[in-house]
């Protein structure tokens, strides 16, 4: 049954309501039939990439729909986690991680954690991106993993590829947005990568950097507030900001220190600016808010063009009848805010057309907008008022009501000039039914009863008649009017007032009863009424300040512009406050990244150059460094540890290497002999000194237990291809002291020609990104027939990828490559048997690989087995172990590698390898198996 036919069956069958959502689309395949799941299991076991991919996709789809996929759990973990996470195809590795991380079952938390860590140092940036995506998933599944996850985030933040940047910042924002310290070292890189990050990532990064900048840089507008009066406020400038400005003002006055923008602050502004041209409105908005919150006022203007915010764009905000209501309201708000003496006549003319719109909510908003213009711009107040009064004769009651409310507010500003309007409005009370409008009119008449002495009592009479049928707000205003009239004109209104108060006394609404009681006590003198009576007039007829007509969009500017919280004017869950500028700038040097010595980390140089050439498509390598943090960290480390020796120069390296080896165990005589050939003349004293330091350093770090057995030589350049120059290399298994994360490669040059070879050196290394080379120092002269041995370091990043480079003489260049056997990527570690067992216990499950084998004919005794294993891999035997146990750790990342060989009667044996790096583990098993079964 195919997916689509299954679906159409279902559609025909359930006529009531086809629930596409609940019952997943491809019904047949996703049914809870176990046989179907077997299909999926089978697919996962298949050799075909596409089948695996599809099976995993389906599982993700099931999980995404909340389906229980737990019976597939073992199959997924077995097939996916163990096998596919090591798959040579990066897309499969990534998909495997997506599946694994989508399983919401707490028992897999440790496995997920391991998988994420593994993927975070994967060669493929796409896999690392997936790892970043998996972080918030694990965090929501088990928040206790937070600390470990932060470590992964830190590692991924150091990643230099655009693919990873957006995803890891997203993870950062979700898991640890307060750990702003993690950003320091990556700040400049993020700024530089920004333009090439995919658009969704850009939004997240820009928003995060806005917050970062507010904690690290100084307010660029500090000086300006000195020059400028606060009259020129920014569009949405808030009171808070003003206060802040004042504070800043004070501090600057005190300090009188001229403001200089931090270059990093400038970098951010400069690098985000081109993104205003993005097709994605969210990106444009993100940049706009960044400029709004971070840029000097003079520069904020550049966003105006993209957003169309300011005066020259006034007409862009003219409203069409076909605009959606929310757009109309926003445009109206912008127009109202842009109104000034110069453009008010155009704006008012525009507003007039809006009043005739068919959308009544919009008409009401337009009337309020006219009111706001009238309050803000004194010159047009009368014009507006007249216009609004004309609206009072509109047939639409809503229009009239809204006008009354606005007129009331306007009149409060200059009542004495407008008794005509008040009279006009008094007449309206017979017709207007909208309670708010009636209440407004009554309030007006009461407030200005002295201007309309004849009409006011008559209005009260009418109101007394209809009192019982009025709405509550109207009733309150009737009581109010009665009280005011009683105080000013008690002769005519005393009885009316008492009548109203009596009606109110028995009203159903307690507010009204309460008000009536209160007012009666206050205005009608009795024995008990006391002192307040005298002040009643003052209380009721005090001059009231005119109201300020306010924007409905006020009071939300403490939120970051463009955020959900800003839009809703309420803090949404997960909203990160935009901090205030610091009073004094924190140390800017935290953002300094130690610039790696390019001659040492030549892979970097290569990349940097590419960037300079092509700033747009910045990362041109498909696969690049997995752990750039390790990368840069190491460079930093090496330069730090090497700083004291830098005086001695790099030529001391090989001699140091040599001295060190002299201090090693005795069973290395062979090697020693080779090294005797070394040119020892250079800077020997210095070298010895530094070598001593290094030796001590090494001993402390990795108590070397040197392996036994002969060391295999590999050919780098055949003497025929090399035109007489023969080059061989071997993995000396010595720690490479200038950088402990590098594998030491010993290279022996032999000059078989009759003439001197000069200037032997390395050029143009082509490395898988993340890999690094530390070149040997140039050999000036190699005399005819002579040999020389040098040592170089290569950080293979725990992979068996070849390091390619050119070997140059003064005349020729040769392309050569060094590929390490997996066993050379590790270095021995000393472990006691107990420790070994303990560590092994931690590396169970998918980190353990078990294989049965038949020992080869020559593997007769323990000694041979130990020899074979140590020859294959640079490991040391665990002393006094009951089984044959070997321990080591990978050179680059220091992951433990544990090997156990258990022999049985009759030549059978079992090999166990435990290693967190599953790729390494698998390859090592293969190599050791081969060595032992020969």
């Amino acid at each position: 049954m195919s997916a689509s036919s299954a679906f159409s069956d279902e559609k025909g069958g359930s006529a009531s309501e086809p629930e596409y959502g609940h019952d997943p689309a491809s019904g047949g395949i996703f049914s809870s039939d176990y046989k179907r799941h077997d299909d999926l299991k089978e697919m996962l076991d298949s050799n075909k990439d596409s089948l695996k991919l599809e099976a995993m996709k389906r599982i993700v789809a099931m999980i995404a729909r909340g389906k229980n996929a737990s019976d597939l759990f073992p199959a997924v973990v077995k097939n996916v986690a163990c096998k596919n996470i090591e798959d040579p195809n990066q897309l499969i590795r990534a998909s495997a991680l997506r599946v694994l991380s989508s399983i919401r079952v707490t028992i897999i938390v440790p496995i997920m954690m391991l998988a994420i860590k593994e993927a975070a140092s994967d060669m493929s940036p796409y896999v690392r991106k997936t790892a970043a995506h998996a972080i918030p998933k694990l965090h929501s599944l088990d928040p206790e993993q937070k600390d470990q996850l932060i470590e992964v985030i830190e590692k991924l933040l150091a990643d230099k590829t655009t693919l990873v940047a957006g995803s890891v910042v997203m993870a950062f924002e979700e898991v640890c947005p307060d750990r702003i310290d993690l950003i320091h070292k990556n700040y400049r890189k993020l700024c530089n990568l920004l333009i090439d990050v995919e658009e969704w990532g850009q939004v997240v990064i820009i928003n995060m950097l806005t917050r970062y900048a507010r904690t690290q840089f100084l307010n660029p507008n500090v000086n300006e507030s000195l020059l400028e009066e606060s009259s020129e406020k920014a569009f949405y400038a808030s009171d808070d900001e003003e206060d802040e400005d004042k504070k800043a003002e004070v501090t600057t006055l005190e300090k009188r220190k001229p403001y200089v923008m931090d270059p990093d602050h400038r970098l951010l502004l400069r690098n985000t600016k081109p993104l205003l041209q993005s097709r994605n409105a969210a990106v444009v908005m993100a940049v706009a808010q960044l400029y709004f919150h971070l840029a000097p006022k003079a520069e904020v203007g550049i966003i105006a063009k993209a957003l169309g915010m300011f005066e020259p764009y006034l007409k862009s905000f003219y409203i069409r009848s076909t605009d959606p209501t929310q757009i109309k309201i926003l445009k109206l708000e912008v127009l109202t805010n842009l109104a000034n003496e110069a453009n008010i006549s155009t704006i008012l003319r525009e507003f007039q057309t809006y009043i005739k719109s068919m959308d009544k909510d919009f008409v009401a908003a337009s009337i309020q907008a006219i009111g706001r213009c009238a309050t803000n711009i004194g010159e047009v107040r009368d014009t507006c008022l007249n216009g609004l009064v004309q609206l009072l004769s509109n047939r639409d009651e809503l229009v009239v009501a809204e006008s009354v409310v606005v007129i009331k507010k306007l009149l409060q500003m200059q009542p004495e000039q407008h008794s005509d309007i008040i009279k006009h409005m008094a007449k309206l009370i017979d017709n207007i039914q909208v309670p708010m409008a009636r209440a407004s009119i009554l309030w007006l008449i009461g407030e200005y009863c002295e201007h309309v002495p004849k009409i006011a009592p008559d209005v009260l009479r009418k109101m007394a008649k209809s009192f019982t049928n009025e709405e509550d707000i109207v009733k309150l205003q009737i009581i109010n009017l009665a009280a005011k009239l009683y105080l000013t004109n008690s002769k005519q209104t005393k009885l009316l007032t008492q009548y109203v108060l009596n009606l109110a006394k028995y009203d159903q609404n307690y507010d009204i009863r309460d008000r009536a009681r209160f007012i009666r006590q206050l205005i009608v003198p009795t024995d008990k009424s006391g002192a307040l009576n005298k002040y009643a007039k003052k209380l009721f007829l005090a001059l009231k300040p005119a109201p300020v007509l306010e924007s409905p969009f006020k009071d939300r500017d403490h939120f970051q512009l463009g955020s959900l919280s800003h839009l809703l004017n309420a803090k949404a869950a997960g909203y990160q406050e935009l901090p205030d500028w610091p009073e004094s700038a924190p140390d800017p040097s935290v953002r300094n990244v130690e610039i790696p010595d390019w001659s040492k980390c030549s892979s970097r140089k290569d990349r940097k150059e590419k960037k300079v050439e092509k700033p747009f498509y910045s990362d041109s390598e498909g696969e690049s460094g997995p752990t750039e943090s390790a990368d840069s960290g190491n460079c930093g480390e090496s330069s730090a540890s090497g700083s004291d020796e830098s005086g001695s120069g790099s030529e001391s390296e090989e001699s140091r290497e040599e001295t060190e080896s002299e201090e090693e165990e005795e069973d290395e005589e062979e090697e020693k002999k080779k090294r005797k050939k070394l040119d020892k003349t250079k800077a020997k004293k210095q070298a010895e000194e530094s070598a001593e330091r290094c030796a001590i350093h090494t001993i402390h770090q990795i108590r070397t237990i040197a392996p036994s057995g002969s060391i295999k030589m590999y050919e780098l350049l055949h003497r025929i291809t090399g035109e007489g120059l023969a080059v061989e290399y071997c993995f000396s298994r010595q720690p490479f002291s200038p950088d402990p994360n590098m594998v030491a490669v010993q290279i022996q040059f032999t000059n078989n020609t009759n003439s001197e070879t000069k200037n032997l050196h390395i050029e143009d290394p082509r490395l898988q990104s993340g890999m690094r080379i530390r070149e040997f120092a140039e050999i000036d002269v190699l005399a005819a027939g002579e040999s020389v041995t040098v040592v170089m370091g290569i950080d293979f990043c725990d992979s068996t990828q070849a390091a390619n480079f050119q070997l140059c003489t003064h005349t020729r260049k040769f392309f050569v490559s060094i590929q390490p056997p997996v066993g050379e990527l590790m270095t021995p570690t000393f472990l006691t048997e107990n420790n070994f067992k303990k560590e092994q216990g931690k590396l169970m499950g998918m980190n353990e690989i078990l294989e049965k084998l038949t020992l080869g004919e020559k593997c007769v005794n323990e000694h041979v087995i130990v020899e074979r294993v140590t020859a294959t891999a640079n490991l040391s035997r665990v002393p006094c172990g009951s089984d044959k146990e070997f321990a080591g750790k990978t050179v680059s990342s220091g992951c433990l590698v544990l090997v156990t060989v258990t022999t049985k009667e009759g030549g059978g044996a079992q090999l166990t390898v435990n290693c967190e790096k599953m790729v390494i583990g698998t390859m090592l098993v293969k190599d050791i198996l081969q060595a032992l079964s020969q």
Binding site: S2, D196, E198, G387, R395
Partner: protein, 428 residues
């Protein structure tokens, strides 16, 4: 970020749901339905709706509401842009984005949604990558799939996802190498009753259909690039070259895409291709009114105006219209109160006219609100701004591509107001 997505049609039927994290009950959409009812017009539904535990961010496109469920702070535009991208992807895959096509291709829809978001965060939104992962449906393939039970999941792995140019897949091959560019300009304008321009601007886009083998690097230049104001680009365009040389330099995605959009602001004088003379009046008594609309060419640069349609939103009290048109057909919908006059091609020799009487609800007072008039039109082979493509150069590949540029001008939000001055206004 984005927790779930619900697709709801105009009738209020929820016909598809997808969850990226845990399942959220569809009852959360009740808040949306409430807002939908309140808004009357679907366009007026607030884009962000707050509920006690979630936020609903929605867009309305092709008569479908895309309602997403959000739980935590996220820039609303981020979500809105993403939802539009989803709709565009459907359109790209199925030819149109409608309830029918979505239901017909529900398997692919789910596969697409699964790839587009991971844990609520956008993963693969580039059409080129998606098409490698999930192949668009064809009649043949869906038949084969029905018989064999196979799916649309691509056999090859999407290498584009890994490349530094994610918008282009590797190894593109065509026998005919072609690159077409459509310059499409829309006039947004507000005219007052007499036809004077209150406000006008041009929104332009350049749509491209590029079918070129290999990795071509294209450079498009204009005769008059200074015209362009406020441009935005597809991510493939190099900003720097535009800044410094005013040329569009890019490695194109494969197939159809929008290269850039631009804006020519009101400051430059915008040509208005037609004029409309109208007189709509209502009598104080007798519950009736009169309508007279005439259309004629104004600034057409010698080209023919086609697909001319005039739409009038009538006041609520207008019951019916008894009109006669000298050209085209008219229709008055008494429910939506929309009068639609489809004129077709504008013949400058014989100007079209629509005339007749309107009948109003009996006893109703003369309507105070004003009708508004919207105009739709199309002019082939003309970019009204005068923008002209100068040349297209290709680097990086050896073959000779076939190149073509087409210009079209359309009416965007083109509206004529029919209102009179209301306030007695003194100039300040």
């Amino acid at each position: 970020m984005i927790h779930s997505l619900f697709l709801i049609n105009n009738a209020g039927d929820l016909f598809l749901e997808k969850h990226w994290k845990s399942v959220i009950s569809r009852s959360v959409c009740d808040y949306f339905f409430e807002a939908r009812e309140k808004a009357v017009e679907p366009d007026n539904v607030p884009p962000v709706i707050r509920t006690p535990h979630h936020y609903l961010i929605n867009i309305y496109r092709e008569k479908i509401f895309f309602v997403s469920v959000i739980q935590t702070e996220v820039p609303p535009l981020f979500v809105i842009e993403f939802l539009h991208r989803v709709a565009e992807t459907f359109q790209d895959y199925f030819g149109e984005c409608s309830e029918t096509t979505i239901k017909d291709n529900v398997v692919i829809v789910y596969e697409l949604l699964e790839e587009m978001l991971d844990n609520g965060f956008p993963l693969a939104t580039e059409s080129n990558i998606l098409k490698e992962l999930i192949r668009p449906p064809t009649i043949l393939r869906s038949m084969v799939n029905t018989i064999t039970g196979s799916s649309n999941v691509g056999e090859t792995l999407p290498t584009g996802q890994l490349s530094n140019i994610p918008w282009r897949r590797a190894g593109v091959k065509y026998t005919n190498n072609e690159a077409y560019f459509d310059v499409v300009e829309e006039i947004d304008a507000i005219l007052d009753k007499s036809g004077t321009t209150v406000f006008a601007e041009i929104q332009g886009v350049i749509d491209a259909c590029v079918k070129l083998s290999g990795m071509p690097d294209l450079t498009l230049s204009f005769m008059n690039p200074r015209l362009l104001d406020d441009v935005s680009f597809h991510p493939c365009v190099r900003y720097k070259r535009w800044e410094s040389e005013r040329v569009i330099s890019f490695i194109p995605p494969d197939g159809n895409f929008q290269l850039m959009s631009y804006h020519i602001s009101a400051q430059n004088l915008v040509a208005i291709p037609i004029y409309v003379k109208q007189n709509i009046s209502f009598f104080e008594t007798g519950s009736s009114g009169r309508l007279d609309i005439a259309v004629g060419p104004k600034q057409t640069m010698g080209k023919t105006v086609e697909c001319l349609v005039v739409t009038v939103h009538m006041p609520k009290v207008v019951l019916s219209a008894n009109l006669s048109a000298t050209q085209g057909t008219y229709n008055y919908d008494p429910v939506t109160k929309i009068l639609l006059w489809d004129i077709g091609k504008l013949n400058p020799q014989k100007l079209p006219n629509l005339k007749g009487s309107l009948s109003l609800q009996s006893g109703a007072p003369k309507p105070e609100e004003n009708p508004s008039l919207n105009i739709d039109l199309k002019i082939q082979q003309l970019a009204i701004s005068g923008l002209k493509v100068n040349r297209l150069d290709m680097y990086g590949e050896k073959y000779k591509p076939f190149k073509g540029v087409k210009y079209v001008t359309k009416a965007g939000k083109f509206q004529q107001r029919l209102s009179e001055w209301l306030l007695v206004h003194t100039e300040v």
